[in-house]
């Protein structure tokens, strides 16, 4: 079953067309990666799927809900992690997780359970009692990823989840994403790291100039373009 159906998606900002007729599907429980050079419309696409930008043309359906008509319903089942996002600096890590959980759930026990899960996921332990402004970039990113997935969304949209992180932190975050997808979460992510894409994604879409140039499983794309790695596929397509 398709969790996400993107059909001929167009997004224009005044005179600039960021997305030019993009189409792809994501199956339920799949990790789908959007890759492409900077400024080709990946983040714009992710923001449209997150319901914070409206499409100029085309359609997007998430679990049968339309992003234009059913944005309020969609927001209850998705979670979005923006690229290089921060958290509220004067809240502690624990307060931040509790604040975000309280937005999604009314029941106090459910909130506490969610926060507990978020705390386990991020692994920040005692550091969660400190204010976010004292965190390193890696710690903040772990906190944010935990925030994004602790509510157990049906669809997680992660814009460059390991951007700017060291090897250890990146590895831990990838492991978490992989496990969450195994548990049934549908994931859309963007990344510049081809090794990460190969490790994480079930399927990927390569974008350039607002369009999708190729789509398929990493192994399929490597076979199709007769290369040993995804980087060469990417270079062949985007040059």
């Amino acid at each position: 079953m398709n969790a996400v159906i993107v059909s001929n998606l167009i997004k224009k900002y005044k005179n600039f067309e960021a997305v030019k007729g993009l189409s792809f599907n994501i199956k339920e429980g799949e990790i789908f990666a959007l890759v492409g050079p900077n400024g080709v419309g990946k983040s714009t696409t992710l923001k449209i799927l997150s319901t914070i930008l409206s499409p100029t043309g085309g359609s997007v359906e998430i679990f049968g809900l339309d992003v234009n008509k059913d944005s309020k319903k969609i927001r209850k089942i998705i979670s979005y992690l923006p690229e290089e996002a921060g958290a509220y600096k004067n809240l502690t890590g624990h307060e931040y997780l509790k604040f975000m959980a309280s937005i999604f759930f009314r029941d106090k026990r459910r909130v506490l359970k969610t926060v507990k899960y978020g705390e386990e996921l991020c692994g920040l332990k005692d550091k969660l009692k400190d204010k976010v402004k004292t965190y390193s970039k890696g710690m903040t990113r772990k906190l944010l990823l935990s925030r994004a997935v602790m509510i157990n969304p049906r669809f997680a949209i992660l814009d460059e989840p390991t951007s700017g992180l060291d090897i250890l932190n990146s590895f831990e975050i990838r492991k978490t994403i992989k496990q969450l997808a195994k548990d049934g979460m549908t994931v859309l992510l963007s990344s510049h790291n081809m090794l990460e894409i190969e490790f994480l994604s079930d399927r990927m879409g390569i974008m350039n100039d607002g369009k999708l140039l190729a789509c398929g499983a990493p192994s399929e794309l490597k076979n199709k373009f007769s290369t040993d790695n995804l980087e060469e596929v990417f270079i062949k397509l985007t040059r």
Binding site: Y13, K47, S50, T51, I52, L53, S54, K72, R75, K76, I78, S79, Y80, L81, P82, E83, E84, A85, G86, A87, Y88, K89, N90, L91, E95, F99, M100, S102, I103, F104, R106, R147, I157
Partner: protein, 428 residues
Amino acid sequence: MRIFFILLKKEIKEMLTIQLIVSLAAMLFIFHMIGSVVGKQTKASAARNNVVVLDFDKSELSKRIIKGLADGKYMVKDASAGDLADALSNHEYEDESFFMVIGKGLERNFKLEKKHTIEVYARFSKSLSGYSSSFSAAKIRKAIGRINKDLGVYALEKKFPSADVEFMKKPVLIEEFVVIGNARARVSVKKVLAFVRSQTYFFPIAVFFLVFMAAQMIMTAIAGEKENKTLETLLSSPIDRKALIMSKLSAAAIIAVLLSGGYMLGMRSFMSGIMGQAVLGSALFTQDAFIQLGLVISAAGYLMIGISVLFCILCALAIALILGVLSEDVKSVGVMITPLMMLIMISYLLPMFIDIGDASFVIKLLLYAIPFTHAFIAPQNILVQNYSAVMWGIVYQAVVFGVFVAIAGKIFSGEALLTFKLRFGKSK
């Protein structure tokens, strides 16, 4: 409502930082300290009522002048043994700032009805700043007034020995009345103005700080959320956009009220340190007259002023909310707040120096069009029982607030919140 309180709690935690509390406490301390030091210094300067007199006439008239000074609570020091240069350089008088030279021929010229000059010297010993110099000037004016008065009485006594000198000094009595609306009371205009100023002195300052701080806080909060991309996270969550707007407005208003209360306390401490209870004291003497004139703010009056201030803050917050959306990051808030600041400054400063009622149509229109003006002038209107002006002002403020909240709501419900931006310089 639940989400509103969750967001409000978060906003207050984000806005009310330790740095803000410490800076407020420091401000209160500094205000109090400066007020206390200046007050003590002022008292000390005022207490030094000394005059060094060099009497070279040694006549009955010059002695009468010196006695008049002594009766006027001046501590007269006689330095007639030497000349002025000796007196100025004399260690005994090194702390003195006021010297008077009565030259030879005072009495002779007086008898001949010729004008005679008495020289007075005010010495700036250490610096030209502060209160000492202004007190010297005030003392000179007072002393000259006393000398002329004494000489006038002396002249009358000599010329008309049988005349009623007291009557001749003041043949006409003047009684001042002030009329406000239908009320009339015997009181000097000067006292009424001093009373009105004492009642409204702190108010515009506090409102100014309140509006400015609230606007700055909300703009920084919005710009910070945009910069950190926490806003994107919130907008993609099931939060009601109206609750998001209202929580930010409420948090900024609550903190602004707390901070302005602090500023007001500090300012009061500062001013009372400088002025003591002088203004209040003079007002007490004429309290009956003020009651007669209706110059008393009733509970309803205070309520109306409060509502006007509340809407003034809300208008500023609604405008600031939109300006915050236009700010690309926290750094650009300083520039983006300028249009709002200009409006606040105009509505704060102009009514302090001009009478809006007598202003030209354009100025009147400009001032009344700015919603903040109505709050700044509310106490004066209430004091003269012009309740309808305050009421219409509140109605106008409420309309302006509604319009700007509607605009903000429109922005927050769409993607403009993320795509609106004005760039200044080369910020990232």
